[in-house]
Symmetry: C2
Subunit: 228 residues, 2 copies
Amino acid sequence: MLLKAIRQITGRKPSNLQLYKLALIHSSVAKEMRDGYRESNERLEYLGDAILGAVVAEYLFKKYPYKDEGFLTEIRSRIVSRESLNLLARKIGIDRLVVYDAKRSKASPQSFKYLYGDAMEAFVGAVFLDKGFPFCRRFIIEKLLGNHFDMDEVVETDTNYKSRLIEWAQRNNKQVRFELLSERSYGSHRQFKVQVILDGEEISRGNGYSKKKAEQDAARKACEQFDI
Amino acid sequence: MLLKAIRQITGRKPSNLQLYKLALIHSSVAKEMRDGYRESNERLEYLGDAILGAVVAEYLFKKYPYKDEGFLTEIRSRIVSRESLNLLARKIGIDRLVVYDAKRSKASPQSFKYLYGDAMEAFVGAVFLDKGFPFCRRFIIEKLLGNHFDMDEVVETDTNYKSRLIEWAQRNNKQVRFELLSERSYGSHRQFKVQVILDGEEISRGNGYSKKKAEQDAARKACEQFDI
């Protein structure tokens, strides 16, 4: 059953099924190992996250030869965001394979929010260890990116953190404003630094090569800090 | 000359010398290309950063089979920190090869602070594109990690952000304190959330599986925010 499901996802029969099994074990059902180490998919998630990041970085680097690193970084972070990976995990059927403790998930839903996306990363780690880099790279590019992302759409979707923050502030009767801290120039290259002030208190700072970029960066950090 | 220097660093003759040349061009001497894109090592730095991150992630994953992802993430971030890479770049001689505008570096020294480390990452990107993943992985593990890092030392060095923040606060006559916001348990697994209060204002929040880890995380964010 599991073997067949994995073969359907990766296109190849697993050599070491244990790796994939481990990738699908959420920490809520982890087993205690030696030295207090609890075996779940978290180590594979760490590895898969790094491999996925490198493959997507290379993919975008080659796809957009005239775009600067700010653009590439932004598009990559949209593709590998936890929301995006959670969605992708459902699309390829990882959600039906993950093992977790449903009782605990009801008690603290927040900590299970990215259950599927995290398992998706761990799954990539398993593919990498089982089949090596070239196969894993092809798997990511063809099966994950190719089938499930419309790059033009990803590029055009503007995750507007500034609007998100402002709307949240309005709903909660808070005052939010953006303040330009500094602006530096190196030839035609500029660097802006902006801070977010919420009810008179600085809550985050952001950088960017335009004022708008710096504001988005600062707003994104504020959103993360307050779980907005 | 350059060819020989590169060969000495990587152990192999470059196939595409242009890639390495580009890796050594700081943005202060970038040339304007089409669409306003300015050609410097920044795109290669973005790529090299991702490749380096993946290779170090895999290296640590295999070296420490019983350590959890918190440990692996922490050790990796010490190895690939900007300070660490800057130092490494000097050790392998990248600093003597980078081309930059020295006049501008005097005008704004801050933006040139990680000049060498950034070029080091770009250099890894060039090696990856020129020689492929297996060679680049060997280059990173043998020539960079193997020759220049004592892993036991890296593991033992405790970058204590909490002390760093407290010392900074004392020097600047500021009051700093750490407040536990929440503590959640999932079986034997716990999650702590801590905030840093500076002169009565919340400046950062951190998470961790122990109170100490959460404090370090919050302190690290505060240090980054205030360039401490």
